[in-house]
Subunit: 228 residues, 2 copies
DNA sequence: GCCACACCGAGAGCACTGCTCTTGACGGCG
DNA sequence: CGCCGTCAAGAGCAGTGCTCTCGGTGTGGC
């Protein structure tokens, strides 16, 4: 085999190094990632970076995919716990929050305001939906185990769209349950963004407890019994 | 009087024109506001703009305050309706969403990822809290009218902070009610950001209905009876 | 084994950015 | 009326994303 020729391998290594340095710059400097600075840090000409990423946006896209995958893995691992369903949801929420606190700029990259002319390519979606799939999976499991009331069906314009979402999560899942799970994820996402983007400054300091307070409300809405 | 000398008046007009053109650029071009382009559009040298705003960040701060005030006014006007409390909350939520849809980049400016080295000065907070005050006011009124159950008290670390928030909204408001209102606002904010930032793409098209679906869940959590 | 080809790094250069400093000119207050 | 403070403008600095061209080098086909 040896399909990876020497040239292809050093190219892969170089690509990885650029991404690594870019992530470090993102963590240290903030959102305005400078391609030239990354190149300078590696020790090569800025123009050489363009051999690996056609543009700054393409580099950002690669970082976005990595971030989605990293967050998705963290969420999946937290969601896989053997506890009660509600407990698993809460644990996953805390895991997502901690991931975000450790990499605030990567969180901003994926859930903050989109960069100017940037439109997420199709490649990102499979990585992007991992965390919602993990959360939705908990709800779907709970429903399959009979631990979740169906709730009242949805009105007209929402029902068919909710059905599509439900079919992705688990065949036979009631649409309204799927939409509650989706809404629950958006709430979690919004709460974490609010903390990270400074909206809670001088208002709430016990952030972890406040997030759990909100998640308990969410779970009650979804219909998952939550034990203290 | 005539405290506003001719010089001071043309200065105020110039300041306003810069802000107006900057807002237009923001709406057309996107987040990366160029001070030079604004100056070019007005027809003056870029260096002259610095007579009015010491830096690009200061211009952004002015735009942020304007955005907060504009959104706050929209929310206050929607929240003032004479309908049932739940209806007023929902109407306010829709008003906030429509404001955001009409000015997506201004929304991103205030609720999206913060700009790199930027820290919101103290001047912004009075404008920033107007919308949460409007929403919290509805809840406080409902509680005063006896239309809202107290719910169970908060556990230790949250209680004192919730008390401070409650005191701002209305004297005597139970802390847990205030925190539910705050959480409800964060949910609303997160849901709108999710729509604007593209998280619902190819998933939910009936955005207005989906937002209302989520708000009804929020209101049930807060304890406000919502009639269909 | 060799050689053309594809790839790669470096440098110069373009158009743009935020921001500073200096130079004149003009308006308004004492 | 004079003069001080404010103003617009231009040049300039350091930085950015990106393109192009130029030599050098690994690689696959003959």
């Amino acid at each position: 085999m040896k399909a990876a020729s020497l040239r292809a391998r050093v190219r892969a290594e170089m690509t990885e190094e650029i991404k690594t340095v870019a992530k470090r710059h993102l963590a240290e400097e903030g959102a305005n990632l400078s391609l030239r600075a990354v190149a300078r840090d590696i020790g090569m000409a800025s123009s050489a970076v363009y051999r690996y990423f056609a543009s700054r946006d393409e580099l950002l896209t690669a970082l976005i995919i990595d971030a989605y995958d990293s967050l998705g893995a963290a969420a999946e691992s937290a969601a896989a716990g053997g506890d009660a369903f509600a407990r698993r949801w809460i644990d996953t929420g805390h895991a997502v929050r901690e991931w975000a606190l450790a990499r605030p700029h990567e969180w901003a990259l994926i859930y903050g305001s989109p960069v100017p002319g940037y439109a997420a390519p199709r490649d990102t979606v499979t990585s992007a939906i991992r965390v919602i799939l993990a959360l939705g999976g908990i709800v779907a499991e709970a429903h399959a185990a009979g631990a979740l009331p169906d709730g009242e069906p949805l009105a007209e314009p929402l029902a068919p769209e909710a059905r599509s979402v439900a079919d992705v999560l688990a065949p036979g899942l009631p649409p309204q349950v799927a939409f509650r799970a989706l809404g629950g994820w958006l709430q979690l996402c919004g709460a974490i963004s609010a903390e990270l983007f400074g909206q809670l400054q001088n208002t709430v300091e016990a952030r972890r407890e406040f997030l759990e307070f909100q998640m308990r409300g969410t779970l009650a809405w979804i219909g998952l019994e939550v034990t203290p």
